[in-house]
């Protein structure tokens, strides 16, 4: 009776993954924006016309997150039923 529903184990793992992704997202965003962005404006380089800090932080950062989310969902997320199966809940 005390046995945890197997679907909850899946759900808990996926929630941790979500937290991890958000942390990674933040670090990437912050490091490029303020790591590169705090130089004097004259030293900025421009990629596709955009300031380098912005390009890496927001454009590349966004693309990286899209790839990561896709990979995580395709390979690590498990398809579970949401409705109760009576036999299994015992």
């Amino acid at each position: 009776m005390k046995e945890t529903d197997w679907r909850f184990r899946v759900a808990h793992r996926e929630a941790w993954i979500g937290l991890g992704l958000a942390l990674f997202n933040f670090v990437w965003w912050f490091a490029f924006a303020y790591g590169l962005g705090n130089r004097p404006v004259e030293e900025y380089t421009y990629i596709f016309g955009l300031p380098d800090w912005f390009f890496y932080s927001c454009i590349v950062g966004f693309l990286v997150m899209v790839v990561l989310v896709t990979v995580v969902v395709k390979f690590f997320f498990v398809d579970v039923p949401f409705d109760e199966e009576q036999e299994e809940s015992r």
Partner: protein, 491 residues
């Protein structure tokens, strides 16, 4: 009056009405009115789910206020706006499958249903219903003002007539179609936003003579515009980072978003929605705010931020394309408004009236109540918006932050932390709201405490309150499976 702009917008509105009408036909044949009207019968697929979340979330502030501020502040504000990419995956991953499973076990149709079943407490329900009604009401008013201003600037109608037009369009299809209509039209509106922003971005870049050219103009005007620190150099890293809570991870606590996380059909819809949602959110936010910055050298000297997007669209696009493109912010505003309207009305009808006033109300009464309350709410917001306060973003974010501070921990920890109990939840909501309001006024008078956005501290305080009170008063582990045994016994 510019008819070539107006006609595409009117066509767009008609399509939206048609969807609402079509959904209402489905609703008429439904056997479970409550679940269908307020939740669309838990049938949303991946694409519609992603779009309805993006569309609900993307509001007047992301389409008018945000780009307007980017126009004034430069790239620092685009950086800030990109903190919203996280909402695309975070909400669905964190609430995720456990929320979907528990919502079904509890037979929950609203976020408050979930809290009611989890904490088993009248105080929690009434407190949540009250905060939803108060805060979302102000959010809704802000959106209506945005919508009316947009119509005003496009048509040259007076603000009052514009507001009236807007109110009628929203009310008609929310009252008849319910959640399914809202979700479906959100999907259409999301697609319009996506395409509209892309067209406008391209047009703005072309009319500015290419990105490098625009960048040079910005630097010539004020080099700070291309730094992360804002035009005056006063956007600190701490302040911008605190928006990760306000418009990023904290969004988990917003009832209008949380309710969508229980509306999907199965795990596969959720998986698809995660990917689509991330792409669409990031894409729209990036485009809209870049448009705001790029508009600056093309149309200098716009002083009302909300007008930047309408004006730049009319400037850079042929009129009929501008009409289609400007349907995007219109879509964003409408889809936010109707979700909020539905949510506030569900709090009143479902969470208060059905729980405590008349639990045995007949289906006919419930139907009448649902339509009636939704309609009356609309009229009240209309009257409030007639004489609007000036700061659209302010009102909207006030509601955002207050709700997040109130709900984030009762939902998230209620879901994952078995020691959480009703005392923790009540303390957390009370602390969150009270400290948010107090700090809000402190920050206005004295500048931001610790240099971060108002929402930061209340979210931390409400976490501490939740944990402390849960452990100190009647500590008891919650059994997530208990409800199953109870259900089986009854069956």
């Amino acid at each position: 009056m510019n008819y070539s702009v107006l006609i595409p917008m009117i066509v767009f509105l008609i399509i939206i009405f048609f969807i609402g009408y079509w959904s209402s036909k489905k609703l008429a044949g439904s056997s479970n009115f409550i679940s269908d009207y307020f939740l669309g019968g838990r049938e949303l697929g991946g694409f519609v789910l992603a779009m309805t979340m993006v569309a609900t979330y993307g509001s007047a502030s992301s389409f008018l206020g945000g780009p307007g501020t980017a126009y004034t502040m430069g790239f620092g504000w685009v950086l800030l706006a990109m903190t919203q990419v996280v909402t695309g995956y975070f909400v669905l991953m964190i609430l995720g499958k456990k929320y979907a499973i528990m919502a079904r076990r509890y037979n929950a149709v609203t976020m408050i249903d979930f809290l009611k079943a989890r904490y088993n407490s009248t105080a929690v329900v009434l407190l949540s219903a009250l905060s939803i009604i108060i805060f979302l009401f102000s959010a809704m008013a802000a959106q209506w003002i945005g919508g009316a201003r947009l119509i005003e600037s496009l048509t040259g109608l007076s603000y009052q007539s514009a507001l009236f037009l807007f109110a009628i369009s929203v009310l008609v299809y929310v009252t008849i179609g319910g959640f399914r209509a809202v979700a479906l039209t959100d999907a259409v509106q999301g697609a319009v936003m996506l395409i509209g922003t892309l067209i406008l971005l391209i047009a703005v870049i072309i009319s500015g003579g290419g990105i490098s050219n625009i960048m040079q103009d910005l630097i010539n005007e004020n080099p700070n515009l291309v730094t992360p620190y804002g035009a005056e150099g006063n956007l600190s890293a701490a302040y911008v980072s605190s928006f990760w809570i306000l418009v990023g991870v904290g969004v988990v606590g917003l009832p209008q978003i949380a309710v969508r996380a229980m509306s999907y059909k199965n795990a596969r819809s959720m998986h698809r929605a995660l990917i689509i949602g991330t792409i669409v959110t990031g894409f729209i936010m990036l485009n809209m705010h870049l448009i705001g910055v790029f508009a600056r050298p093309i149309l200098p000297g716009i002083d009302v931020g909300d007008k930047v997007i309408p004006l730049i669209a009319l400037e850079t696009l042929p009129p009929w394309v501008a009409g289609i493109v400007l349907a995007a912010p219109m879509a964003a505003i409408m889809s936010t408004v109707d979700s909020l309207l539905l949510l506030v009305s569900s709090s009143i009808v479902k969470d208060v009236y059905l729980n405590y006033v008349k639990p045995d109300a007949s289906l006919k009464t419930i139907k009448r109540m649902s339509f009636g309350v939704t309609g009356i709410l609309g009229v009240i917001v209309f009257l409030l918006a007639l004489d609007p306060p000036d700061l659209l973003i302010f009102l909207n974010l006030f509601a955002f932050g207050g709700l997040e501070a109130a709900f984030i921990w009762p939902i998230v920890l209620g879901l994952y932390w078995k020691w959480g109990n009703k005392y923790g939840a009540i303390a957390s909501m009370g602390t969150g709201i009270a400290s948010y309001i107090a700090l809000h006024f402190y920050n206005i008078a004295n500048g931001n405490l610790f240099g971060v956005h108002t929402v930061t501290l209340p979210v931390v305080l409400s976490l501490i309150a939740f944990i402390a009170f849960s452990l100190l008063i009647k500590r008891q582990a919650y059994d997530y499976n208990a409800i199953l045994y109870r259900n089986e016994k009854q069956a």
